[in-house]
Each structure stands twice: as structure tokens, then as C-alpha cells.
Symmetry: C2
Amino acid sequence: MTFPKDGRCRVVVERISPEIDAGRFSIKRVVGDTVRVEVDAFVDGHDEIRVVLLHKRADETHWHRQTMQALGNDRWLAEFTVDRMGHFNYTVEASVDRFRTWRHALKKRLEAEQDVSLDRLAGEALLSAVLSRADKTGRSKLTSWLSVVRDGSVNDLKELVVSADLLDLMDAFQEAEFPTRYPRELTVWVDRPKARFSTWYELFPRSATSSPSRHGTFRDVIDRLPYVHSMGFDVLYLPPVSPIGTSFRKGKNNALTANPDDVGSPWAIGAVEGGHTDILPALGTLADFHELVQEAGKLGIDVALDIAFQCAPEHPWVTEHPEWFRKRPDGSIQYAENPPKKYQDIYPLDFESSDWKGLWKALKEVFESWIERGVTIFRVDNPHTKAFPFWEWCIAELRKQHPETLFLAEAFTRPKVMYQLAKLGFSQSYTYFAWRHTAWDLREYLTELTTTEVHDYFRPNFWPNTPDILTEELQHGGRAAFQRRLVLAATLTANYGIYGPPFEHCWSAPREPGSEEYLDSEKYQIRTHDLDRPDSLRHFIARVNRIRRENPALQTDDRLVFHDVDNPRLLCYSKSTPCGANTVLVVVNLDSHNVESGFVQIDLAALHLTENEEFLARDLLNDQEYIWRGSRNYVELSPFATSAHIFQIRRRRHTTDGEVRFD
Amino acid sequence: MTFPKDGRCRVVVERISPEIDAGRFSIKRVVGDTVRVEVDAFVDGHDEIRVVLLHKRADETHWHRQTMQALGNDRWLAEFTVDRMGHFNYTVEASVDRFRTWRHALKKRLEAEQDVSLDRLAGEALLSAVLSRADKTGRSKLTSWLSVVRDGSVNDLKELVVSADLLDLMDAFQEAEFPTRYPRELTVWVDRPKARFSTWYELFPRSATSSPSRHGTFRDVIDRLPYVHSMGFDVLYLPPVSPIGTSFRKGKNNALTANPDDVGSPWAIGAVEGGHTDILPALGTLADFHELVQEAGKLGIDVALDIAFQCAPEHPWVTEHPEWFRKRPDGSIQYAENPPKKYQDIYPLDFESSDWKGLWKALKEVFESWIERGVTIFRVDNPHTKAFPFWEWCIAELRKQHPETLFLAEAFTRPKVMYQLAKLGFSQSYTYFAWRHTAWDLREYLTELTTTEVHDYFRPNFWPNTPDILTEELQHGGRAAFQRRLVLAATLTANYGIYGPPFEHCWSAPREPGSEEYLDSEKYQIRTHDLDRPDSLRHFIARVNRIRRENPALQTDDRLVFHDVDNPRLLCYSKSTPCGANTVLVVVNLDSHNVESGFVQIDLAALHLTENEEFLARDLLNDQEYIWRGSRNYVELSPFATSAHIFQIRRRRHTTDGEVRFD
């Protein structure tokens, strides 16, 4: 017959949220965020319990303790703030609360006018026991409460049983007897704020040139920084900048054979000039790259680099570390293939190599070399074709020295694989956004991303286009589609990006009908761009990004709420700051060719508005203002204008001088 | 820099279901049940994986291995059967499947008419490696497959890549390389079938008498067994049969002072005659009790006993083990109270006693003494006012020797507390059923009980009445309400019970208006019952219980489906066996006073019927038959008849001789 260690620990503590996969993974937050913790806790019988949230920075030795509040139905709540980058821990402890139990019984007996002499004795014992544990101020306060317990009038006791002061004292100094601790300590990973709110611009440095016959350089990109900055972007993401292989190099439009002057795909990494830590000579020198990072930094722009762990046949690793590659039965190195398709210009790395540790170390050093050069944001190419354990290890190792590093996972694959990468440490993730067109699809997808457990570890980064993705909607929807997709990306999620200048110039020609590839794609050739084209969306983009900067509601994926519209071609949603100081309501016409109108049924509570109050809806895209009242409001949007309203919602306020203002 | 143990274990295995609280608790099944296990499993890249369910009896040393089937979206499924009482374990292991990956690539290349000579070489290596691990038959089969791989025609290879035979061979003998095991082993507790399907009848032995002046005995109960059996009950549950305390004994109708001839409440346990393991002399002897258990057993009836862990002031423990009780500040023993209410006839046990181990042992011995006397079903009184760790320990300890024991938790309290008791080991639980009247309430509650995780550990036992619960609905609804509540209890859940004869005699008088207590309750006095009353529901009850016995669909809480009705006063639901061999459709009129009619919108798929098929609905309550077609069907139910249909649904079948039958 075996007994538990102490069968007198009667309180049950279970189902903490947030908790990912029984504590296997960290939840994510950014510096300054609040972590809202809930838990089930209860005890047998009628005793009162005290539930305490324990939290600390991972490197602290003692827990901070915070009494949790009852939410009803045996659920408890407390919050704590994470004030720096790195790991934090949290868990919950609960115990029978002798004082609260005593106080509750005394209160009931006082109400029923019963004799309380035994309650006085019990209370005296309780308070006396705590006295020796209290600090000086506490001792003095407790001593006077003790005399109330002993000799106070019934009215004094009635005050005592509702005193917050005494409760706080007892919470501070009463020792928990037979406490139950939640079986797991959970972890928060805290990033810098850009992990949650960032605005990305992708460009090909080779095309930062005025002539297709001259290869663009880092210095050209430096000249382009003011343009990028003027549109309001704060991450400049460059495709790989390393030497490009020549064997099986792809020609223009992904042709199987290249002409001698074809520049090849930047993702075919490695040549006689070097591998992942080296720079393609045509782009410039390491010093040039360094200057680019510096100059961008002055404008608040992070340079993000594309890390693609695959090797062209001439990559130095192929000869130096043949054991990092798989062999075919004929002894040759296995090129990439997805039968029957073959990609002979690329060798994948073998994560089952007997020297997997050596391989992992080398890959980590690739990141480290770029971190040394000032890059702390990485867009990782196809992370889902590399081993999951590697990512978990690599990101954790890098963050020990560099908690500021951010990783964007470019995995367009099955949902659970994408979510797994986020769990393992990726800071942001590409999504299915590009292919979600209808109001129903967008609403379903965003509801999953922002209201389920996924929201605690997966940060979506919405891209209307990428060098690989020119959707049918953009091919056929004209300028309206580009504007609409920009507004959706920029306001549905706090992280978004575009691939430009093709985006602002509304490039819509596919390589062939049915393809999502660009015709004459910059992936395989140098293109030029007239940045001053009168039809450019640059000013529209700048306005949208300014709206994002000026409205904190748009700087998080929290509190996204959809509002019903009686026209399925219109989508309406809002975001607001926790107490509603800033509220943005967006209405988008999802039809590229027709004016759409309808009635929006606004969830006023989500906008911190009451049923019959007048409020101001100011369209931040065109500065028009509307005075609305109530939940039902008419909207009409034309694809020939901007296809969207981005309303800032202001409540009506009566000033002392009788004027009416909205703020 | 630390590395994981083997970074080459690339497959992710997560989110097994069923799993309760990260494996903290067992799921429950009965002998013969199937456990359906699902899991997420996936790997980076394009490799195929093999996912294997591992399961075993807890006392087996080796796992049984079973290949899981892909459900799509990286979810996998397999089932296993639990064939005896006790604990079973299960978990999942997955690995990259070299053979499936090779086979898939070969298939694609064959379809694209590419060269496959390297595939032949790789396949040869794969099959040869397995050869040495195969048994004799396997070796012989593999050898001929090997020659196909080496020299077979393209057509031979096309057969090979779809061969189930070769796949089975490889599954049987291929060694998993770099396998990933789910981090936890999970547990099933397997009960005897009565845990899932039982029909309870509660009676007061003291009232099994013909005169209120003569105390009923166990021998009287033996005489009443044929009556109980004739109604189809298979559990006869008795309130406590131990000596009843005299101090502060409650009089008739819970009066604070008793008359000398008042018999007291059976729940005030303990007197000079003894405590929890002793028998109240007025009921008879231990030999009588033993005979009752024997005679009941001959009719397939289990005698279930009420275990109420609380003591009357004269209980032997009070003097022998004063340390098992809490002291008041004046040194007296703490009686039960819920301020301002006092229950001075009862001393609760102190689960925080310094001798908690001694107390636990004594309580366990109470169960053991009754198990020795042939009782293996216990109805536990107010388990939620005793420490949770005690129940987990006690039930587990008892089941080591007696896996056949069943425990019904009588906890009418907050949902999470009730669920916790079920998690800790209680086999069945009282519920909120008595207070769920409307179609919406019943549907919501049953959906929670039968379709959420709760279904894996909480077995509801529905009681229309108990000695403590005479609902308003029964007080005012007349005979219709009793019939309705019986049908609901008996067909919504597989475990149900009634407190009789008050139930079959439709007792409806409360102690006072607004009370749920019976007037002149048997809890405090002897009552007599004329079992042959012409208005008795005994024959109706017998019919309903026969329907339960004859329809396996009603013997489980699985596959309960609600069907929409256009009248909120009508509730419609069905249950069916896994493949639909037995299907029961129930329609209940929830109004006690009015005829209600409406159209039922039947979910035909849930009934294993197609859209335009004719089917027979045979009402098992009155043998009337209806031929229906399609999903929309009219029903009309009168409270002056039986208030319910219990249809057995039969499909139309054309026999060879041209006749039409339904079966």
C-alpha cells in the first residue's frame, strides 16, 4: 500500500491557459506585453482557496507571487507583464485559505446574528500565527486587527470581514498550508516589438539599376532607401546575396538552359566565389553591404536577409563536406527532386547525415556571420524541408547571445507543419492569405489565427504578392485588387509585406496562363523600374503605412473583431486598443469590378460604444467624416475609387463650453 | 553548445486523442470496447512516414504494434480492443518510412516513363536489409519481390508499387530508423460492462413492510426482489444499512427533535451498535444481508450500497480516533456546518488529520468489508466533501484486488468538481439531468456529455428523482411528467435509475411549497407502498427497460444525435450501433399539459438511411408502425397518452420472392 507524498494537499490545480502541448512549447510575447493567465482551481467541500500566479524571468531564482481573481465556475485569472527580451516562466499554486474561510464563516454568522465567540478564538489563532512572519508595518497593522478580533464590537467585526487591508496583509504574510503546485512550469519567449509589428518591403538588389545591362549593387540599394522609407517600411528584405551557381543554372523565365549572360536564381547558392557567408561580387563588397545596413538603420529600417539552406553544385561544402549530402545508388550526389520533377541545380542538405552535428554547427554559423554584419532579421526559405529538431536547436542557440534576432518562416505547406515551425521558434510566418479571397474565407482564417490557441505562438505575416506568388486575383483584378489586398494585409495583421516595385506598379502578367509566376521574373533576370511612374501606388501605400503607424490598434493581432454585412462582397472588421482609446473599423469591397453597397451591423460593444450614441467615423484614406449612430450603417464602395474605408472611430464628447467634439 | 540526443529523429508526433490533462488521467472503457486513437504526425520535406499505434495491457512487457491510417491533414487513426478489466496503455511512434518513400517515388517515375534503374538499386538495398529480419514465410515472399525489383518488367514494377502484400511484409519486418515516440504513455481503465449500461432501483429497506409500525428488513427486501426484477432493473441500491445515531437525531420531515420512536436518517451513521461496517439490527443480520445479495445475484441484480463517510456523535471512531475529527477552539468536536446552517447530528472527517494515512486506511477497509460480503457497486454520498487525493488512492487501491468494483459519485455541485471525481476514478456520476427541462437545455447538456472530451471519463447516470430530489416538474406535471422523465433518462443515457416506489406511484407532494424534499420522506420515517396500485407505472417502466435490453443502441452513450424539430416543446434524438444494425429514434413531448405536434427534420445519415428511401418506424411503446420516407416527418404527442415515441427504425428490404420487408 503506497500513499501519495502528502494526501492533505486537497486543492486541485489544472488546465492553465495559455499552455501549448502540455508545456512543450513557449508562448510568444513582445517586450511590454501582458500575459493573461487562467487556471481551474478548486477544493473539496466549502473551504475558500487562494490561487497564486507564480512568474519570473527565467534567470531569477525567486517567483513573484500574485493572488488570482475568481472568474466564476472555478476559473481564476491574473496577469503579468514581460519587461525584457528572453524567457519568462509561469505556473500556479493554490491552497486552502484559512483566513478567507474563517472570514466567510464569520460574515455569515454575523449576518445571522449568531454567537461568534468561537470565531474570535479561531481568528486570534490565525492572526497571531501570521504576526511573526510579517514585516514591521505589517506587524503593527495586524496587532490592531488582532485587538478587533479579540474585543471589537460586532460592528467592528462587520468591518473586519470586508476589509481589503486585512486581506492584503494576510495574503502577504499567511503561509500556505498543503499547497498544490501545477505540475508544469510554462515558458514565455519575449521578442523585441518588431516581432509583433513590422512592415516589410522585398526587392531584388540586382534590379536596383537604371539599365538591364548593368547589375544593381548594394550602393544602388542605398540610393533606394529614401524611396522605401518614404512608403513607411521598416524591414527591407533582400533575396540571397551569396554567389550563384553556374551548373544547370536556370535561364530567363526558369528556362532549363541559361544564356552566358543570364544572372541565375539567387536561391542557387554557392560558386567558386564562395558559399552562404560570402557575397556575390556583382552586388559589391562586404563593406558595401555593411554600409547598406548602417544607412538603413539610420532610417529605422532593418535589413532582413534570405537564408536558403541548399547548395548549388559548386558550393564549397560539396567538396569539403560530401557527408552532408545524400548519395544516389550510383555514387553521385542526390540533387533536389520531387518525382517526377528534378531540380539539378540544387543539392539539398542531408539532415540524417552521420555528421549531423557538424552540419548543424555550420548552418548556425551562417546566421552568426550575418548577425556579426548587423543583420538580425532572417527570412528563412522553405524551412519545412529541413529537419524540425535543427530549427528548434538553432534558433534557441542563436538567441542565447542574440535575443533580438527574428525569423520569418517561408513555409507554404500544410497547416500543422506551418504551425510546428512557429512552435519551434520562428517569430513570424507566411500564411495562406494570398489565396483567401472571399469574406467567408478571410473571416474563417483570421478567426483561427487570432482567436484560437494558434494566436499564442504563430504570428502571421501577410503578403499580397511575393516573387513566387502572383495570384489570379492580382492578375485579373487591376488596380482595385492591388489596393484591396494591400489594405487587407496591412490592417488584418500587424505584420505584412509586399514585393516591390512589382506591387506598387501593379505587375499582373503571368509567365503563362494559369501560372502564379511573374512573366520575366526578377528571380532569373535583371529588371528596371521607373519609381516615378504616375500610376504607382507608392503614395497610397505610404498613406496606409502612416495609418498603421498612427493607430496602435493596428499594431497587434489582438482584438480583431468581424462585423456582419448583408452583402457577401463586403468585409468589415475592427481592431482596438485594450480600453478602446484607439479604434479602427475597416470596410473592404472584395469585388474588383463592381460598386458594392450594404448595411454593416456593427458590434458596438467591440468598439466601446453604447447603443444610441453618436460617433464619428473618419476615413483615414480620404479624410472624409461621417456621423453615425447605432449598429446599422450604410456603406458603399467603388473599385474605381479605393475599394476600402479605414475609419478611425471617435466617441462624441460634450465640452464644457457647449461645443460638441469627437475624440 | 548542447545537442539533442539524436537530431536525426525528424518526425513530429503530437496531440494524441483521447488524452486527458496531458495523460494525468485514464480514459474509461468497458470490456469489449474499442479505443479509437488519433494523432498528428508529420515530417519535414516530402518523405513518407509510418505511424504506429503501440498498445498493451499494463502487465504486458511488449507493445502490440499497429500501422495507423492517414485521415488527411496529417492526422492518423487506429483502433484497438480492450478485452479484459484493468489498465491498458497506449502511445504512438512514427518514423520516416524508407520503403513507402521509395515506392512513392518509383510510382511517380513509372507514370512519367522515366528511367528507374537507380530506383531498382535503391529498392534492392531496402528489401535486402529487411530480408534478414523476416520470418521464413516472409523471407520467401521477399525473395521473389526482390527478383521483381532487380529484373521485373515495367509492368511488374507497376504492380509492385501498389502491392498490399509487399507493404504488409515491409511493415512487419522493416526496422524503424530514427523513430519519434510520443512523450507520454496513456492509460485506459477498463471496467465490466455494467459500468456503461445499468438500470438502478433505489429503495428504503425499512419501508419494505406492510405496516409503518413494523421496520422493514433485508428479508422483506428479498421478498421484493421479484417486483424489482419484473420491472427490469439490474442494480438494487440501498441507502446506508449501518446503525443510526441518536444524538441530535432528526424527526419526521427533518424535524430538529425526534420522537422516541422516530427511526432517524440512515445517513447519520454510527451508534453503540457499531459504525460503517456494522448493520442496523432492525434490518436483520449479516446472514440476512448475505442472503439478499445472493438472491439478488440469481436475478442478475447487483446490490449497491450507499457509502457515506460521516459519523454520528456515537460512532465508535469518535472515541477511538478523535484525531480523525477537527476540534473547535473550545475543544469540542466540530460538527458539520455551512454557516449559518448547523448539522449537529453529523461529524465530518478531517482529511487534514495528522493521521490521514490511518484515516484513509480505515475508510478503504469499509469498502473492503462490504466487498467481502458480496457488494461490488457503491453509491458514494457527497464524495465532493472528502479530499480528492483520497478518492484517487482509495479507488486505485481497491481495484488492484477488485477491478470489478464500480463507484457512483453522488456529487451535485459545480461542473468541474463533478468532472474531477470522474477523472479520479468514479465509474458513474449523478448529473444535472433532474433540472434540465427544455429541449435546448437537454440538447446542450447531452452534447457536452456525449461529444466532448468529458465523454471519455464521465459516465452520466440520469435520475428523474432521488430521496432528496422531487423536482418542480414532477410536483406539477402529473403522470405525463413521470413518464416523460423516465423515457428521457432511460434513452438519453445508458445508465439511469429511479427512486421507488415513490417514482412508479408518482409521488408529487413536497414537504412545503418551493421545497424539493418529499413530504413525509422515507429519509426520516417508515412508509408503506401498495405495489399493486392500478395507477402504478410499473408496467410502463418494465416496457421501457425491456426496450433498453432489446436495443443495443440504447446500451451506450455513443452516437447520440439530436434532430431538429420545428416545435421547441418536442425533443427528438437517435442512437444507433456502430454500423446501424440497431437504430432507435426517440421523440418526447416536453409539455405536461398540451398535445404538441410538429415536423421532425431527421438527419438521415445518422440513421444510416438514404435520402429517398422508405423506412419503418415501429413505436416500441405501443407497437404501432409508420412507414416514412425522407427527412421531414410529422409527429404528434399527447401528455394524456405516453408523451413519447421510442421508434425502432428498420430499412426496407426487397426479398427474392417479391415481398417487401423491413429489417
